[in-house]
């Protein structure tokens, strides 16, 4: 019994589990029955369009906001029950949290005291994010990118097992984004930490994340590996022919669906290029073009999040029955 309990605690170490989380602001359901989990050793992307409920979810995980129902655990415990939260989890939240008159180094020393780590740690994290030369200056004069770095340094003070970053790429220059990407990969893949980053753009985190949790309008629309998403990319076949009508007739028995049609061509799904070419050759149909078109990941992401959005918007704006 005791051994089981110990085993379950260590199994939860470094995990974030969100279960049936619900949070409303007035009439708006910001987060609606959301469940997902985040595992150690990988970088998880938390994705969704603006206003999907990402920040609200993260704030509930971090104990800053109280859910209406459901909840979240960090390493097996609700956030408020963490006894040494600075070592368990560090967070970089969207808008920056600094007193403008306090120097970067003093800011870190304030929260080093709060996290119970020695002052030398403040200088370590300052160096980690490349801000050592700016350490003595007031944060009020910092650029957005420097603030993001300082926020990351603050989150790293307690050397946390889990790192949460809300829209970390905001304000970073391309060089900074590359730097952040390799740092996060290192923290997760080499050091085995849990890394969760939110973004409204899949392309922004595509090269960083192993797994994705996609939400729209407060609900989960997809949870899985990035490979899953790649697999969902439906390939379509683009054909040009002077006789599109005849080609459609010929292909119908193959279960092919036409997604787009013009005077000279068709866009099809449901059959590979080889099958389309063969059928056309057998029916003696002249083809001018036959090629495969692969959708980008962003298309899949948009499809996943928009369907949901459009359906919900229609449900909301539906006129009352006459």
């Amino acid at each position: 019994m005791t051994q089981q309990a110990v085993a379950s605690v260590s199994a939860d170490e470094g995990r974030i589990v969100v279960s049936h989380l619900r949070k409303t602001f007035g009439e708006v359901r910001a987060v609606d029955d959301l469940s997902f989990h985040v595992e150690p050793g990988e970088v998880t992307g938390f994705l969704g369009p603006n206003g999907a409920g990402k920040t609200t979810t993260l704030r509930c995980v971090l104990g800053l906001a109280r859910p209406d129902s459901g909840g979240a655990t960090v390493s097996g415990k609700p956030y408020v029950q963490l006894r040494d939260p600075g070592r368990a989890i560090g967070a970089v939240l969207e808008s920056t949290s600094f007193h403008p008159a306090r120097s970067a180094r003093n800011h870190l020393r304030v929260f080093a005291a709060a996290a119970g780590v020695p002052d030398s740690r403040a200088d370590e994290v300052l160096a980690l994010v490349g801000l050592t030369p700016a350490g003595k200056y007031g944060v009020g004069g910092f650029s957005l990118g420097m603030r993001q770095r300082l926020a990351l340094a603050t989150a790293m003070l307690g050397d946390p097992r889990i790192l949460i970053l809300d829209e970390p790429a905001n304000g970073l220059d391309p060089e900074g984004i590359v730097w952040l990407r390799s740092l996060l990969r290192h923290l997760a893949k080499i050091e085995g930490r849990t890394v969760l980053i939110s973004s409204h753009l899949l392309s922004e985190v595509e090269q960083t994340v192993d797994r994705v949790v996609i939400i729209a309008r407060g609900r989960l629309v997809h949870e899985g590996s990035l490979e899953d998403i790649r697999g969902r990319r439906a390939a379509s076949v683009v054909v040009s022919t002077p006789t599109p009508g005849r080609l459609m007739e010929t292909l119908r028995p193959l279960g092919v669906q036409v997604t787009n049609q013009s005077d000279h061509g068709l866009t099809l799904t449901g059959a590979p290029t080889s099958a389309v070419g063969h059928a056309a050759w057998e029916a003696n149909i002249e083809l001018h073009e036959l090629r495969e078109e692969v959708h980008s990941l962003e298309d899949v992401f948009l499809e996943l999040t928009e369907d949901r959005g459009v359906a919900a918007a229609q449900a909301q704006s539906a006129p009352p029955a006459p």
């Binding site: 800053l64 939260p85 600075g86 949290s97 600094f98 304030v110 929260f111 709060a114």
Partner: protein
């Protein structure tokens, strides 16, 4: 709690707030003392001459006006967190919100005692040489001024605690400071002249602070100094507890 106290002390010492407010407190305290000595004996000042013990108590007690800045510093210790969103790292590193409030109350107490001591010292530094220049003998053993100085120290210190309480309830800095000043300078003085309210008026925070120095003003009913101290402390803690239960139980901005 040790971590929280280190954190809060560092927050206080790494911005210019504490000494800016200290200068303000010293300025108000000095003006009070200077005005009392300078106007003594002029037509329209009903106080007896400076040689009387009552007048001497009144002179030193006017340094208590520095408490306004102790109140404001107490408020800002809390509201600055919400204004600059340092509330986030603060409550991320200590999710038990009541403990954060407790740490702020303790740090405010220490700061308030320092402010109070500074106000008492400056009243002595101004009044003693000036009075001796005027040839007025100050008899420390019998005039009760030492008691007045202690009252000043405590009134200023406890006002810093009250400030923290106000800040926890009203998290907006501008609103909290405006409401506190408007109450102390306008609302409470008005309330206390309404006939029916006069009697209970002595239990209000401003009256409790005045009672602390034990200096009686004409026509004003006051509690005993020690009662004033407990009453004012009670107001501060009540505000802090109410703020923790109501405002601070909501989502952290």
């Amino acid at each position: 709690m040790k971590r929280l106290l280190r954190e809060e002390t560092r927050k206080l010492l790494t911005t210019r707030l504490w000494w800016g407010m200290l200068l303000g407190a010293l300025a108000l305290a000095s003006i009070g003392v200077i005005a009392q000595i300078a106007t003594n004996g002029l037509r329209g000042n009903p106080l007896p001459p400076l040689t009387s013990a009552a007048t001497q108590r009144s002179v030193f007690a006017s340094a208590v006006s520095g408490d306004t800045f102790a109140l404001i510093v107490g408020i800002i210790i809390v509201t600055a967190e919400f204004r600059h969103f340092t509330s986030r790292p603060t409550f991320l590193l200590e999710p038990r919100r009541g403990r954060v409030v407790a740490a702020k109350l303790l740090v405010a107490t220490a700061l308030g005692l320092a402010y109070g001591a500074a106000c008492a010292v400056i009243s002595v530094a101004i009044a003693v040489p000036w009075l001796s220049l005027k040839g007025v003998h100050v008899d420390w053993s019998s005039n009760g001024v030492l008691f007045v100085l202690l009252g000043t120290l405590l009134a200023v210190a406890i006002f810093a605690i009250v400030g923290v309480g106000v800040g926890v309830i009203i998290q907006s800095q501008v609103v909290a400071v405006s409401v506190a000043l408007a109450y102390l300078l306008i609302v409470e003085p008005l309330l206390r002249v309404i006939p029916g309210v006069k009697e209970v008026g002595r239990f209000l925070p401003g009256a409790a602070a005045e009672a602390l120095t034990g200096v009686q003003r004409q026509g004003i009913v006051q509690v005993q100094p020690w009662q004033g101290a407990l009453l004012l402390l009670g107001w501060g803690l009540l505000f802090a507890l109410a703020g923790r239960a109501i405002t601070l139980s909501r989502d952290i901005p």
